[in-house]
């Protein structure tokens, strides 16, 4: 497929009809020329793959060296019983391509850890799933070096997170003009409005829109781990409502040994340190919550993956399509209450 051609064919317009009506032909054409790397095809990886392949991303490389296990069958819909014991990519690649024959798919069964930095340079955007804290930090160093947007997602049973590092990103949002005009300047710790234009609806001159360009500043994963805190950011009521998943997710990131299933004691100790740093009273985190988080640590749960994979894929599409502001810079999802706040760490 020629990536330089910005005109969509009649077939593409018919196939992508319902989404072009949302983000326009130009965004669809830009997506077609994009080159994305997805690391690890687990439950969240599968969901992201499905969504961005359906949406018509131009080129997708999947990097995964895992072998299919019995457990995978409960969280990954590309797999069937006969696939157990084979390489994940080998047994899923036909099913992925079937989703959308127009997408250029590349399968790499190499090890993530053995790839040198130059390997990553070829991509416009990288998505990492099922990565440890150290792996994430290493990957983030590389994406910073080459100025590549990075998405990281993972889950612990009913709890999940998304980290985004687009380095710096200008997004244009269009909204109906309200009585209070948008002013240029910093609007939050990571965002500033740099340009405001007014557009009048050509069909209805009474409708006046403001096109607001917002510059998003991002931090690296390592910096976020160091800087993340909720001190002075939440009022008493918000603090009371805060999901235990927030400090617990960070407690797990901060564990020295960095394994998928830490012991309960290790996690508790880390949680106490994080609570302190975040300014969250440790008694806010109920024992039941703690136990469940520890119990579900490292587990993939299909519907949670659907939510997280949907949110990551949508943001990736928005970044390529230059539509809507991207996530900046951290999401923590609590599947019990469906709480899904966006933090600017």
């Amino acid at each position: 497929m020629s990536s330089g051609d910005s005109n969509l064919s009649a077939d593409e317009i018919a196939l992508y009809d319902r989404q072009i009506r949302l983000w326009g032909m130009a965004a669809q054409a830009r997506m077609r020329s994009a080159k994305v790397l997805l690391i690890n095809l687990g439950s969240i990886g599968t969901e992201i793959t499905k969504n961005i392949v359906l949406s018509g991303i131009g080129n997708l490389t999947l990097l995964d060296d895992h072998t299919v296990t019995e457990e995978d069958l409960g969280s990954q819909f590309f797999l069937s019983k006969e696939n157990v014991g084979y390489k994940r990519l080998e047994v899923t690649k036909d099913r992925i391509q079937e989703l959308n024959p127009r997408v250029n798919l590349t399968y790499d069964v190499g090890k993530f850890k053995e790839k040198d930095a130059e390997y990553f340079k070829q991509f416009d955007l990288i998505i990492g799933t099922e990565l440890s804290t150290l792996e994430t930090i290493e990957l983030n160093k590389i994406t910073r070096r080459f100025n590549i947007p990075l998405y990281i997602a993972g889950s612990n049973g009913l709890f999940a997170y998304i980290f985004v590092d687009l380095v710096q990103f200008d997004a244009v949002d269009e909204k109906l003009k309200s009585s209070v005009p948008v002013e240029i300047g910093r609007i939050s710790s990571n965002k500033e409005v740099i340009e405001v234009n007014v557009r009048i609806d050509e069909d209805d001159s009474k409708k006046i829109y403001e096109k607001v360009t917002t510059r998003h500043h991002y931090k690296t994963f390592e910096d976020v781990l160091q800087a993340a805190s909720l001190k002075d950011k939440l009022n008493r009521r918000q603090l009371k409502r805060l999901s235990g998943a927030v400090p617990l997710t960070f407690a797990k990131f901060n564990l020295q040994n960095n394994q998928a299933c830490p012991t309960s004691e290790e996690l508790r100790k880390s949680m106490q340190a994080i609570s302190n740093k975040f300014g969250v009273p440790v008694e806010n985190i109920k024992d039941e919550y703690f136990e469940q988080f520890a119990n579900q640590s490292g587990i993939e749960f299909a519907p949670v993956s659907a939510v997280i994979g949907g949110a990551v894929a949508q943001d990736v599409i928005n970044v390529f399509g230059k539509r809507q502001s991207p996530i900046c810079n951290f999401i923590i999802f609590d599947g019990i209450t469906l709480d899904m706040p966006i933090y600017e760490f």
Partner: protein, 634 residues
């Protein structure tokens, strides 16, 4: 445990996992949300899933309905979806191609086999219907919907939390006749004119039928004007249009120019004579014969669907496509507008654009006009995936399978809707308010109690109406003075001065499967001025029980304050406003968000995907649920 169940067991525990394996789900819809839900429910290891869809697969579904391929186009969605998931499914799956509202295929007792219902529907009528069924059977329902980036899920626990109809839903836009026929000022006005008026006048089956329709409807119209002169002109114009249909009959393509002249020159000139109309408006400028003449040089085969054509190109294409339709008409005898029928779409778009030009309105490409004419709602994979995922996750709480997050009261459970993507907040991806209690003014879930009366075939023959009333009175604590109405048959069965039928058996009274009885407290309690709430009972005849089996629903019928009888239309209005206000408060969960909340964005939530293929459009027409279409008020 290391198997496909190991993850879910860690989340819900082994006992609750067994409950999931024994759980029977009804999934209504196999489209965008339905495909995603089917996958999620299977991976959660639900034991049995029945999936229903009326539709067949269309090309425009493939950007999101990930279970379908190019080769599946025109196949039924339900059966194709079930085949597509078989490689990863460990659940018993039963597909049905049918309309969930078809009581022959899906009678009430059929619904009773399920533990939970998931709605993944694309229209209001079916959502309302399933909601009502859930109320009758006290079945938990997970309602959901998406439109572009926007989506919502709402768990409904009958009698305990808000039902689908507790809040007023957005109704489709309508326009006054005068705006459509005389004074358009937006592209949509011209498209409605071309589609709902012009196209029908020219290509509907029979002239006489149309005339009758118009006679019947004429008095009820919202003309949007008091101007007698203008109303007369509109009526006359309609009559003259019937003359134009004769040109279509004639199959004489040289006369298509006459259609153009009539619509875009003579009618506009007449319109200009009504001076009142143009005192505050820009006057239209009619087409000229030169325009029509110069359009003849144009090669219509080169026109692109995503571009805005010039006026001459619009005229050339109009002539070209009218000729095609003329020839089709002589064979098909009647042509209906269908957004996926290129000829009908291009006729409507070119006619609308020429009219737009005349009225100084901007013209639109075929691609953009199709969205308005076909009432297409944008739909993407990601929103559907998120919404289906949320619906699946929250089902664990609705079924109370998370021991560590025990549901003490149903209002502990959360609903959710997109927040960031819908421009409501930048601080949260979702808004997740707790469920509300039922709206006490809701006609579906609150004004009456509902339940199923199960009765054996023998009992139906032996039990008298008097005995049944006595049983209901004692069970639900009604006073002596009750009235009983046969809702299905629209007849009174008993009240304080009508006791003739009390000795008749239920069978004598022709009561049986599917009939609905309404019990009303006519006496009340004088001291407290309270009344027992009315009770609607659906009769279900069971064959596998003992001869004297009769079972009332295990619900409580509460006492309520007396409601004034005389409820005028004005009061209904007020109730609606109150309901709206109520809806607002649900969403105001955070003071910060209250400021950001855009009232408009909420209305959009409650939408549906488009109903895509021809069959569906026809069915919608025949069942008279045109509420999903943009309609002119006539």
């Amino acid at each position: 445990m290391a198997g496909r169940e190991s993850n879910i067991v860690k989340i819900v525990g082994i006992e609750n996992y067994e409950k999931i394996r024994n759980c029977k789900c009804l999934l209504v819809g196999a489209g965008g949300i339905g495909s995603e839900l089917l996958k999620d429910l299977i991976l959660m290891q639900f034991g049995e899933i029945h999936i229903i869809d009326l539709d067949t697969i269309d090309l425009s579904n493939l950007n999101r309905q990930f279970l379908f391929r190019q080769k599946d186009i025109k196949q039924p969605k339900s059966t194709t979806a079930v085949k597509a998931v078989s490689h990863f499914s460990n659940s018993k799956l039963i597909p049905y191609q049918g309309n969930i509202m078809d009581t022959n295929q899906f009678p009430l007792h059929w619904f009773n086999q399920f533990d939970i219902i998931f709605n993944a529907l694309d229209n209001l009528a079916a959502r309302r219907y399933v909601n009502k069924i859930a109320q009758f059977l006290s079945l938990p329902l997970l309602e959901s919907g998406t439109s572009g980036f926007d989506g919502y899920i709402q768990p409904i626990i009958p009698h305990l939390t808000e039902c689908f109809d507790c809040t007023k839903k957005e109704t489709p836009k309508t326009f006054p006749v005068c705006t459509i026929r005389s004074t358009p000022n937006l592209p949509i006005h011209c498209i409605v004119w071309a589609k709902n008026f012009l196209f029908n006048e020219l290509f509907a089956s029979s002239i006489t039928e149309n005339n009758q329709d118009e006679q019947r409807l004429e008095d009820k119209q919202d003309w949007g004007t008091e101007d007698k002169e203008e109303i007369e002109r509109i009526k006359q114009e309609t009559n003259e249009l019937h003359e134009l249909q004769k040109i279509i009959y004639s199959k004489d393509s040289s006369k298509i120019v006459n259609i153009l002249e009539k619509l875009f020159i003579h009618d506009i000139e007449k319109l200009l004579l009504i001076e009142n109309l143009w005192k505050t408006r820009e006057k239209p400028t009619s087409l000229t014969l030169e325009h029509i003449e110069s359009s003849k040089k144009i090669d219509v085969s080169k026109l692109k669907l995503d571009q805005i054509w010039s006026l001459e190109e619009q005229i050339a294409k109009f002539i070209n496509v009218t000729e095609i339709l003329m020839n089709r008409y002589s064979i098909e005898k009647s042509i209906e507008f269908d957004k996926d029928d290129e000829d009908t779409l291009e006729f409507v778009v070119t006619a609308a654009n020429i009219r737009s030009y005349i009225f100084g309105i901007s013209m639109k490409s075929v691609f953009d006009s199709k969205q308005i004419a076909g009432n297409i709602i944008p739909a993407i994979a990601t929103t559907n995936a998120i919404i289906a995922g949320l619906s699946s996750i929250v089902s664990l709480r609705v079924l109370n399978l998370l021991n560590y997050a025990n549901v003490k009261k149903p209002t502990d459970i959360n609903m959710a809707f997109t927040s960031k993507a819908s421009n409501i907040s930048n601080q949260r991806y979702l808004s997740n308010p707790n469920l509300s209690k039922p709206n006490c003014n809701c006609a579906v879930c609150s004004k009456v109690c509902r339940g199923v009366l199960e009765v054996s075939t023998v009992k139906l023959q032996t039990s008298t109406l008097g005995e049944l009333i006595e049983l209901i009175r004692t069970t639900f604590k009604y006073p002596n003075d009750v009235s009983v109405l046969d809702v299905s048959g629209q007849r009174l069965l008993a009240d304080f001065d009508f006791d003739d039928l009390l000795d008749k058996t239920l069978e004598d009274l022709k009561l049986g499967e599917g009939d609905v009885l309404l019990f009303t407290d006519d006496e009340g309690d004088e001291d407290s001025n309270q009344f027992r709430k009315s009770l609607e009972l659906y009769i279900a005849v069971v064959s596998d029980k003992s001869d004297d089996y009769i079972k009332l629903p295990s619900i409580e019928v509460p006492l309520i304050e007396k409601i004034e009888e005389a409820e005028s239309n004005d009061m209904e209005e007020e109730i609606n406003i109150a309901t709206n206000a109520n809806e607002e408060t649900i969403i105001l969960i955070d003071e910060e968000e209250a400021l950001e909340l855009d009232k408009q964005s909420k209305g959009k939530r409650l939408e549906r995907e488009d109903s895509s293929d021809k069959d569906n459009i026809k069915k919608i027409r025949t069942t008279n649920t045109i509420e999903d279409d943009i309609i002119e008020l006539d």
